[in-house]
Amino acid sequence: MEQLPLPSSLTEVEALIRALYSRNSPETISKIQEVLQRLQKSPQGWQLASSLIASRDENVRFYAALTLIVKLNRDSAELSEDDAKGLIENIVGWVLQSLADGTSAFVTKKLSSALVTYFIHFSHLWPNCVRHYVHCLDLGRGVSVDGLDDALPTSELVAKLSPQQLKAAIWFATSLVEEVGKIDMNSPKFAIVHDRLVKNASDVAYLLARSFSQPLNTPGPKIQDDALNCFQAWILYAQRVPSNTDVLITPLRELVDPAMNCFADQELFQPTAELFSDVLSNYSSFLTESHYGALASLFDSPWAAEHYNRTIHGNHEEEGISFGLLMLAYGDAKVQDLMTSPDDRSQRFLEKLSGLLAADGYVVSDDAIFVPALEFWSTFVETMIDNTFSDEEETKSWKPYADQHLKAIVMNCWRKIQFPPAETFTEWDSSERVGFSDGRKDVADMLQSIFTLNASSLVSFFADLFLQSVAAQAWAEVEASAFCLGSLSDCLSDNPKYDFELSKIFDLSFFELLGEAHGSVPLRLRQTGLSLIERYCEYFERHAEYLPHALNLLFAAVGDPVLGSPSARSISTLCSSCRSILTGEAGAFLRHYQVIRNGQVLDSLVEERIILAIASIMQAIPDENQRLETFNDLYVLLKNDLDLAVRLKAHPGLLNLSDPNILRGVDPPNPQVTPSADEVSLQIALRSLRCLANVGRGMQDVKEHPVDLDHDPPPKRIGAKLASIQADIMGVIIEVQRNFSTSGEMIEIICNILRAGFSETEPGPFVLPPDVVTDYLVQQTFKTPRVGTLLSTVCSFVGSLYSGPKLFVPNHLARLLPWVISILKALPEPEDDAEICQNGIGLVEKVMARYPEVLFQLQPSQMLEFFFMFSLKVLNGKEPLPKSAAAEFWSSFIALKSDDNPSLQATISGATNHLGPLIALTLVQNIGGNAARSEIDRLTEPLKKLISNHPRAQAWLQQALFHESFPSIQVTAEDKMLFLKKIVGLRGARSTNQVVREFWLSCRGSNFAYVS
């Protein structure tokens, strides 16, 4: 960008400033800014500011004030003490001039900010800044700081100020505390600035006291408004300052009562309420008992009753909820006292707070006070729980009162969470809908807390409400009752103690009610009802008599576009939990599934969940033959779909979009453009494979079997039927993959199918023989899509091999290792595919940790050499995940020992001696500044192992530290030697991490010490 020339006269500078604040292109503004900033930063900047301040143009004067701030922040060190004293006189003079000639507030405020900046840099020259400023205001000109001792007392000076001067003084006091408050309070450099600011508090208090004493209810802008803002800023500062001494707190506390008087002025009500809400919420200890007493009296007054009434019945959007928030803040600050005091005033106040949960209108869209009120009551309940369980005896005096409030709030919440009529709900925007739903969740949270106190009564309360509402056909109330009962499911579903209450709900009429697909029952109630069944699946385990009704109801809803997904989810949860009860129904479920799928194209996810449900029932069938037969019935359905996909791929002419089986591959169901046969066949294949993967998940055993840690598990014998099924599954997988060889999604699903059997200890259709899995894996090449996912699957497979019979494990590993390394070798650069790199290194590490002989006997041996160099390169690279895997690999490698195999130990030692210097070099380059900060701890692990395991580590590390490739010039040879001495002395102890971190920081330089 071409630079503008520096202006040669003040007129030109002013013209530039005017252009800066005029409508101009961003490029022009950037150029102007650049040239003006050059001027500001130049030594003539002070003079420039002083000249510009005399301009008639307010923008120019504003810029002059800005220039002063820039100069003070950048170049204050170059001012002599006399210059600095002169400067403050000038700035104050300019402020007074602005006040006198009626300049706009934005210029005067900017000049006030310049005064504050001056204080931050020259507080030693201007310690009594507020008093001096007020003194100058009184005199009407800027005077020397030295003559302040002879001035009148501050109280008298303040009393003489005109309203306009008082306002200016308040602005300065506000800006002063806000800006100084932003400076680090813990830094010794600025501690003195804070100390000096604190000493100004009493002078500020005179200003505020005078402001609060002005008449109320007068027309026009009020000084109290600015004073309240200033008071709030000083209280916030007092709260945060480490040594909030009496010098600061005492004068501020005396202003609380005068500030409270501002409530009486309708126009000041809002800022006053905000001030007190803020103090009560964040700094409740600032207020004394006398202040709390005054507030309590205020809340009991007719004035408060009127405000409360407006909060409950008024329009929150127009009138706000400040009064409600003030009450809640008071309640929050005094919750303990209010809860344990049975006196009338406290109880009346709590009643009012409970009433805030019953304001007019719907939550969030009309009623803004409900959510904050709920937050208060949640705190109340938590406090009640704490008190009840810490001293049960003491609670007797107040608990009956508190319980009454709980009853009221539960009732109010139940009313509030009821959905509006559908036409109202559709009118809400998305944030209102989300807000309403979040409000319901908050209620659910609170009910769970209340359950801790009043379990039985709460359950029976909602059960009764449910039944009464059903009888009255008040569907919104039924839904709210069901929602509340559902929210308690985690607390009570596994406890038969509450079955009596639940049985009132889950009887035949409940299922009939929800089964009314076209009746008057709203969809939302059906949704909540279905979810209630899922939440109480443990109840249905205990009461199997209701299970068929529940499942029939759920199956009837799976085809519904809205209810389908939650119904299918409930089916899978229920079938999984109650699998052993339902084994006799497996065939019926399967037939039902066939009927549904013949009748319509189900949503893919819905179908997968139903299949998962059926498979989990099959898994529990005790007789193997029967189990496999039922499995086969389901498997054949899916296999037919996969066959169809393969045929359609081979013969696109078979595409017939009126065939329901082919429609299973069309997504969305009614596409605007006819999809190709290729696309449809792929979708059918993916969908069917996903279903197969879900069968695998469902067939996983949920029981825990004993594990014999001392002996190898015996090989499991599998029958011919099972073997044939397994072979068929593998054959289908290979065939489908061959036909859709470019689909990455397909590989992921195949991996899921394979994984389904890895964790199983008992034979099953998906517990494939290790030979079969190994054969399949080693046939894949670098060109197979998502080969990184395959490598991750190999890691899981190796883990499953380790938990099975040990005899054949080395053979499998010996076949898998060369394949994995060949994949890594095919990578053009190690970091070209982070997933392959990470999983490949992770797998080799996994093999080495348990079967090092397999790794070291790898043939040809160049493969192993390649891998070592590869992982060192990765360790020195930039990709975080592979680098982490490499660090872990080298950590294991360095600590590797084989005491019972001398020949292997000799090989390991030889490799370590050969690789040791390279490992040390790579680690040191990282620690010397190349590594990212987040990697240091991980990279320290191999370093610690190196030091604690190898006597030559010190020499290797020293060599590396002084190697020409060492990345930093920030550390000296002494620093390096000291570092080496420290880490060697620590011998791999935990504190090595800190030493390494400090060394890394030294190598990077002080610019990187910005974070603790």
Partner: protein, 140 residues
């Protein structure tokens, strides 16, 4: 070890972990009002690495990096408190708990997490929950 059926919601933990958020600028810009514990999470460490890269390339100075981290502390606390509405419940065996220097620590074994949408459960052998007061001692 007492077997408990401890139910908590993520939002409540977040509530406990957050610092009281405020709209006031003074509060927002002061680093002392927000915990820096989220800097040690994956988002925080990644952000720090990115800032290191920018400093290394002389694109920003450390003072700006410090300000960015301060903003991060504030934004994470506020977002967890105000924007994250997802929640979960969990059950497990409470193994150890302690309250030291205003920090609660719970060690829970054999934990099952249930997500809000009921889609799936997640199990963990051991979970450590560290929760700090929503209001720091200097705010009380």
């Amino acid at each position: 070890m007492s077997e408990v059926s401890h139910i908590a919601t993520l939002s409540r933990i977040q509530q406990a972990l957050k610092c009281k958020s405020r709209s006031d600028n003074t509060m927002a810009t002061n680093s002392t009002n927000f915990y820096d514990l989220y800097r040690h999470g994956s988002l925080g460490t990644t952000l720090t690495d990115a800032l290191d890269d920018l400093i290394g390339a002389e694109r920003i100075d450390p003072q700006l990096a410090m300000k960015v981290l301060t903003q991060f502390d504030r934004i994470v606390a506020e977002s967890l408190s105000e924007k994250v509405k997802a929640r979960l419940t969990f059950k497990g065996s409470l193994d150890t708990y302690r309250f030291c220097d205003e920090v609660w620590t719970f060690l829970i074994k054999n934990v099952t997490f249930k997500m809000d949408n009921g889609s799936h459960s997640v199990v963990a052998d051991k979970v450590k929950i560290v929760s700090c007061s929503a209001k720091r001692t200097d705010e009380k």
